[in-house]
Each structure stands twice: as C-alpha cells, then as structure tokens.
C-alpha cells in the first residue's frame, strides 16, 4: 500500500475564500473517492494549510510542505500573485504545483500542472461571443494585480483589433468596496459592456453598487449594459444574490454541464457533503486532478513529478471537463470554453460552447486580423438573423 501525502494550499478565509473553499472541497472529495476504494493500492493523506490570503503565509507554508514534510505534490494557490510567490520554491525542490484556476498566461513551468484556463481559453472566446452581440466599446475594471492588468491588456488588444474602443480602465485594491465614482463614469461614457476582473468580495460590492444605481439609471440595468467576467464562478454567484442576475462569465466547467461525468460528480458531492452543494470549476478541477494523480501514481508505481507529468501526457482521462490529456509542450490541458449567464435565479446556465482549445499560454497562434474578421462575421450573422431587416 502506497501512502501519498499531498499538500493543499487554499485560502479558506479572506477576501477570496469562496473560491478557496470550493477548490479545497473538490480536492477533498477526490481524496475521499480514492481512499474509500479498498481495491486501490494507494491512500492519500492531505496536509491542509490555510494562508488566509496572505502572501507571506503562502511562501512559508509551501516551504514547510516541501522541506519539512517532504511533500512533492501541492494543490492550490488561487491568485497569480500567490502562484508566482510559491513557484520558485516549488521549482527549487522539484515539486509539482497543481494549479486549478484560470490565469493570465505567459508562464510555462516544468513544475506546474496548469489545469486552469489561459487567455486563449477564456478572454478570447468570451469576447468572440460578446463583441458581435453587444458592441466593442468596453469599460475595463479589475483588481490591482497581474490577473486584472494582463487580462485587461489582452481585452484592450482584442477590442482595438476590431476597431473598438476602451472607454475606461480602472484598478482597485483587493478589499475596495467604494465604486460610486466608477458608476458615475460608466453613466457618463456609455460603454457597450463592462469587463469585470475584480476578485472576491470587492467584485460582489461592485455588482451590488451597479445594481443599486440601476434603480435610478435604467441604462445600467444588466439587460442594457452586460457585465462579463472570466473569473466569476457558481460558488460566488450564490454570495452575490440578485446582483448576479444577467452576468456573463466564461469557464471550462459549469455545474450546468449535462454529461455523464458531471452528473456523477454532482451525485458524489451530494453524497459526501450530505446535501446538494454549488460546484464550480475549481471544485471540478480539484476533484479530477486528485483522481488523475492517483491513477498516475498507481500506473507508474512512483510519484515523482516528472513521471506523473509523463503519465498525464500519455493517457486520456475522462473528467467532468471532458476527455483530457496533458499537453507536454506547455504542461497545460486542452479545455472547452463555455460561456454562461446567470438566468432567472438559476446560477450560470450555459449559453454557448466553443470547440476544445489547446492551451496557447503565450498567445503564439493568436492573429488579430483573423479575430477582427470573426467578430465582423458574427455581427453580420446576428444582424441577418434579426427580425428587423433593412430593405433597399
């Protein structure tokens, strides 16, 4: 019997605790699935740490896991600041970080399994859907760190590529809750849509302020001014309540997915937690990554990061996110981008599905001209499908 100790590094308190708890629960369910199966020659022992959103704690805890507990596999970090902070230590000790969140790309470490979407799997497909539908005058808002900066930079590039305009771009600290000046600017500049890259409680406050202002200014209603996001998930939508209504978001997993694997996951989660819970992409990736690790360790008879990565690259896994094989070129998974909307009290109903996309973390294969053509064609199609037609 192999006993494998893995590190779980999620902030289950602090400003983005909803995402931390969601991913941790997914990983714990995955561990439970492995450990309950007496036929498997593997038991997984979790070593759980909660950095509480503090960067210093992330580094300290990772160091302890690798150096003192001799853990090779760490699941966690939600934000890119935290990932960038722990990465040098993980590389130094040749560990493997299982990163589950969508991120801004431009990274390719040998010591990370990237299970979250990168820009060609989130912002690009999201904009391919949103721009033809609503227009290309954007208002960009984000939390003041690399995720917001870089995702908004790509957003600006996409908008400019098709002749659009960024009317405003603003950044706020993690726990900023005062957005009245921002709302005034939105009323004055009249964007076609808002890209919200705020993270955690600050994001919920922005949506609530916007909703409150919409009572007086109908142009701010979600039906008139869509708010789109690359990082809003089911686990947060419940916290936001009514203000989440109409929100568009992209992810490579939604609870709404009607597949055999997803139905199984939802059933397992209900059985494990004793009641139906909200499941997000962090939960699904957390759950399935533990199963993949277990299969690789059993298959290889070894848990060394290099061998585990090789196994992931040579085998196909049935997951709630689809049939997946790790791309050894980038250490990312090919993912299917979905675009969902919060609709009539139901959290995040899938509206649009894009073909599974190989991760392109450096946007090597992105072509601005082709993107612009796609948007123009999309716009033309929407106009031709409309009941109102211009007849010469």
């Amino acid at each position: 019997m192999t006993n494998l100790k893995i590190g779980l590094l999620f902030s289950t308190t602090g400003t983005y605790q909803a995402m931390g708890n969601d991913a941790l629960n997914g990983v714990l369910l995955g561990i439970h699935e492995i450990n309950k199966n007496a036929d498997l020659a593997l038991q997984i022992q979790p070593h759980i740490e909660n950095p509480g959103g503090s960067i210093e704690q992330y580094l300290k805890m990772t160091d302890m896991m690798l150096k003192h507990h001799h853990i090779q596999h760490i699941f966690g970090t939600i934000t890119s600041i935290a990932r960038k902070e722990v990465l040098p230590v993980v590389e130094k000790h040749d560990g493997l970080l299982w990163y589950l969140s969508p991120y801004e790309g431009f990274e390719c470490s040998e010591n990370v399994v990237y299970y979250g979407a990168c820009p060609n799997q989130h912002i690009v497909p999201l904009f391919e859907y949103i721009l033809p539908k609503y227009g290309n005058k954007a208002h960009l808002i984000g939390t003041n760190y690399i995720w917001g900066w870089e995702t908004n930079r790509i957003a600006r590039e996409l908008v400019m590529a098709c002749g659009g305009e960024v009317l405003s771009e603003k950044y706020y600290a993690f726990e900023e809750y005062e957005f009245s000046r921002q709302i005034a600017e939105i009323i004055q500049k009249k964007p076609d849509f808002i890209l919200n890259n705020l993270v955690g409680s600050s994001s919920y406050a922005f949506l609530k302020t916007l909703d409150k202002a919409a009572l007086k200014y109908p142009q701010l209603r979600r039906s008139n001014l869509p708010v789109v996001s690359c990082n809003m998930t089911e686990c947060e939508v419940n916290n936001i309540g009514h203000s989440a209504q109409g929100l568009y978001t992209t992810a490579s997993y939604f609870q709404d997915l009607q597949t055999k694997e997803n139905n199984k996951l939802k059933q397992l989660a209900t059985d494990y937690f004793g009641h139906s819970i909200s499941i997000s992409s962090g939960f699904a990736t957390g759950f399935s990554s533990v199963l993949m690790l277990a299969e690789a360790v059993i298959g290889n008879g070894a848990s060394e990061p290099d061998q585990v990565k090789k196994y992931l690259a040579n085998h196909s896994f049935k997951t709630p996110l689809g049939q997946l094989t790790l791309d050894p070129k980038t250490n990312h998974f090919p993912l299917t981008p979905y675009i969902s909307q919060v609709n009539q009290g139901l959290p995040l109903v899938i509206e649009h599905t894009v073909k599974q996309a190989i991760a392109d973390p450096y946007l090597v294969n992105f072509n601005a001209h082709e993107f612009a053509i796609k948007i123009a064609n999309g716009r033309r199609k929407i106009l031709s499908d409309s009941y109102l037609k211009v007849i010469k």
């Binding site: 590389e91 431009f106 990274e107 390719c108 470490s109 040998e110 930079r153 790509i154 600006r156 590039e157 908008v159 400019m160 590529a161 960024v166 070129k329 980038t330 973390p361 450096y362 946007l363 090597v364 294969n365 992105f366």
Partner: protein, 210 residues
Amino acid sequence: MKANMTPNFRGWNALILHREHTNECKLAQQLSRLGVKSECRGISTAINFPKVDIIFVDVDEGIDEIFPWLAGNATIPLIGLLGSEAPGRLAWALAQGISSHILKPISNNGVFSALTIAKHNYDQRQQNLIDIEQLQQRIKLRPVVLRCTLQLMEIANIDDTQAFNVIRGLAMEKRLSIEELCVNYVDDSARLNQLYQLFFKNNNYSRRLK
C-alpha cells in the same frame, strides 16, 4: 491610445551558440513553446552562418570569431547566456552589443522576456543609429543654412531672425528639413528671390513677421 500589443515571435528562427547541455535543451524547448524554431551549434563553428532572426550566445565561452561581423556590428539581436559574472566575460558580451541576457542555468522562465527586451532594445538601437546619422548630416550642413540666411537677408532686406523664420516656414510648406531647403536654394539668388516672393504672397508675410 495605442494598444500594448502582445509580443509574438511565431515563425522566427533562432541560432543557439552553446555547447550541448541541458541549458541549451531547455532554451530550445522554451523557444518552441513561443513558436520559434532553433538550431544549436557549438561555439567554434563559424562557417556557413545561417540566416536567422536572433542569436543566443554563450558568453562564458564566446569568442569574436564566431560571428561573421566585427564585434559590436551585429545585424540581428544578440542575447547573452551568462553563467560567469566575471567582468572580462561581461566586457566581451557588452562589446558584442548584446540586446539582453539570460542567466544560467536556463529555465523556462526568462526566455520570453529576454526575447521581448532584446527585440525592443535592438530596434531602438537601430533607430537611434539612423537618427544620429541624420543629425550628423544636418550639423554638417550648418554653414549652408547660415549662408542661405545671409543671402535671404540681403535679397529681402530683412534681419537674421526674419530670414530664418521665412526659411523655416518654407521648409515646413515644402515638407523638407531646413537643411534640405537651404541646399536646394543656396547661391541661387534668382530662385531664392522667387521663393521669397511666393512665401510673401501665400503667408501675408508682413503680418507674420510682426
């Protein structure tokens, strides 16, 4: 506002001048992730220098003779691969005119930024060279501008400031530099007079001079 475009090296060819080593393998792997094809050669092979977009050179073992150009005259961006930080080796790298560097051991981190910085620095340096060349040409033509100003002062019976204003105004109208205009009209008082009359007519000269 111009969008801050994503640097893209798709389709580039790189030459890695480094002995076979894990450093060189890691570099080639990371380059392929960025859409860059690479060829690796040992440091001593200088013959049949291939046509590439960028060169990564091992500063620890580099010698002048590996390049088909004189030190400091590279026609493409160079990126130094630095292990030793000995001042002599750094001096060699600087003499080659490297546009950026990567510290060894090479990891996946740093290659994209080294390429981006190298391209930016190299392009800027080339532009600076063009600008310096143009400015030197203009400095050389100072005496011509002076002579032309003096001739115009005499023809139009105006002072030096007024004459220079006319020359500058004419240069702007004709979309020429002041020096180019002066080269065309100096020592030709008939043409200079004609030009001055035209300027006078077009620009309500008397009012402008005041």
